[in-house]
């Protein structure tokens, strides 16, 4: 469990990973039960049908995560020299496309149902010997199963950060917003109840737009990662502070005049190309190897590090200095200080 390609996970990450696997398996079990229960009370409500399909779709990130994990943990080989870390991004992309396509279909069903003027028909069921309107049962079921996702969503969110896992983060984010789906389907069924038949279609449309939105966001994050976007934090909100940390670690070495970094996110760990301008062109190879090890020691996510001597830094490489380009993540000053200290004492 603690091995990640060529990376050995530190204790904190190893524990978080074990917890993540457990919670993903738990989520799959929980969702399977809710899918079964909702199927029993589905009826003719389009909102209920849409919420049900969303429930089924919500399994994809968890399955993708667990399947990708099998590959991600393999060591790099000659055939796969960078390891199989991209499996996580591929799973992420597949989940995004699935959400988008199915969301679009559901939105179309909701709109066309509304245009046809479909009046959803919901009758009764016999419950404990008396006839009860099925709508009440639907509302009760949707209210009860809305309880789980916000809790495990929050839990996953806490694990996504130390693991730097965007798939887990996306999964957690969707779970946190899941109650909206249940609330919308309850509104739809209540609408049918009071005779506002179109409220069902409106609720179904609301839910499907949410699914499409999730799909688009996931496709975007996964695609940008696969296109080797500069490494960002797990929530995609800012440039990853490690870029500045690596650059300043190298600059702090006495034989380095200047340094810049190309860092890409392989889905869970980073691949780092560090360009250095040596003060003396005759700098021995051992110095570069030591610099590479010093960078690798900065963080468990950077293990695959190449230090490349150049006379002029490539323009697209990031020097990790705030006024160099876009603003960097908060705390990069802090990172600089620790980076310099560790860099100075590099092996």
């Amino acid at each position: 469990m603690s091995r990640f390609g060529r990376t050995d996970l530190p204790e904190e990450q190893a524990v978080a990973m074990r917890k993540a696997v457990r919670i993903e398996i738990f989520t799959i079990c929980y969702t399977t039960v809710t899918i079964g229960v909702v199927a029993l009370v589905l009826g003719n409500s389009q909102a209920m049908k849409t919420a049900w399909v969303e429930d089924i779709l919500s399994l994809t990130p968890q399955v993708a995560f667990l399947v990708a994990l099998i590959f991600v943990r393999r060591r790099p080989t000659k055939a796969h020299p960078f390891g199989l870390h991209r499996a996580m991004s591929v799973g992420h992309l597949v989940a995004g496309v699935a959400l988008f396509v199915v969301g679009t279909t559901l939105a179309w069903e909701a709109i066309s149902g509304f245009l046809r003027g479909d009046h959803p028909t919901i009758g009764t069921v016999v419950l404990f010997g008396s006839s009860v309107w099925l709508g009440w049962v639907m509302i009760a079921v949707m209210a009860v199963i809305a309880i789980g996702p916000p809790f495990y969503g929050r839990y996953k969110l806490k694990l996504a950060k130390p693991l730097h896992n965007k798939l887990l983060y996306a999964d957690a984010d969707m779970a946190k917003a899941d109650w909206q789906t249940n609330a919308a389907s309850i509104v739809g069924v209540l609408g049918i109840g009071v005779g506002l038949w179109w409220l069902d279609a409106a609720a179904a449309l609301f839910i499907s737009v949410g699914i499409i939105w999730d799909g688009l966001r996931n496709m975007k994050t996964a695609t940008l990662g696969l296109l080797d976007k500069r490494a960002a934090t797990y929530d995609e909100k800012s440039v990853h502070p490690l870029i500045a940390e690596v650059a300043s670690t190298l600059r702090a070495l006495p034989w380095v005049a200047d340094a810049a970094v190309r860092m890409r996110d392989l889905g869970q760990v980073f691949h780092v190309e560090a360009f250095v301008v040596p003060t003396d062109p005759r700098t021995p190879v051992e110095a570069y190897e030591a610099a590479s090890r010093a960078v690798a020691e900065l963080d468990w996510k950077v293990e695959d590090v190449e230090v490349i001597p150049v006379s002029v830094l490539p323009v697209e490489a990031d020097r990790g200095v705030p006024d160099d380009g876009e603003p960097h993540a908060d705390g990069s000053d802090d990172a600089d200080a620790t980076g310099a200290a560790r860099g100075g004492g590099g092996r």
Partner: protein
Amino acid sequence: MRRRARLVAGVAVISLAAGLGGCGLQIPADPNGTLDRATGAELRVGASPDASLIEVRGDDVSGVLAEVVEAFAASIDATVEWTVGGEEQLVTGLEEGELDLVVGGITDETPWLDRAGVSRGYPEMPGANGRTIVMLVPLGENRFLSTLETFLDEELG
């Protein structure tokens, strides 16, 4: 912020339900008011003849299913006005608002799902010969359907 939104949503649902109950608004309701219109007046029923369930002689409709329908009409103080025809013609009558209910040898395998509201199945219907008999109502007339099913549960259960 999220927590507050959830609280607001919860309060909204509860107060909506309580408010609706308080105003005497009934759930489920009929968007087109089928039950209200038929109560104390006439129930327009389409009959599709069936060997063991519905017999048609001239203007007279009889048989087990006809008796059940007459009893249901009586329970809402309505009198039955029969229309006899083929299933498709009767289903079109439901869609166009000319009929309130269609009965006959229609089972839970009925292909009219998209064009009519289908009641629960009643395998206990005498003369059904093992078939699970359903009745058809206008789409989305949920109060009427629920009232009918509740009656059938008591009558046949």
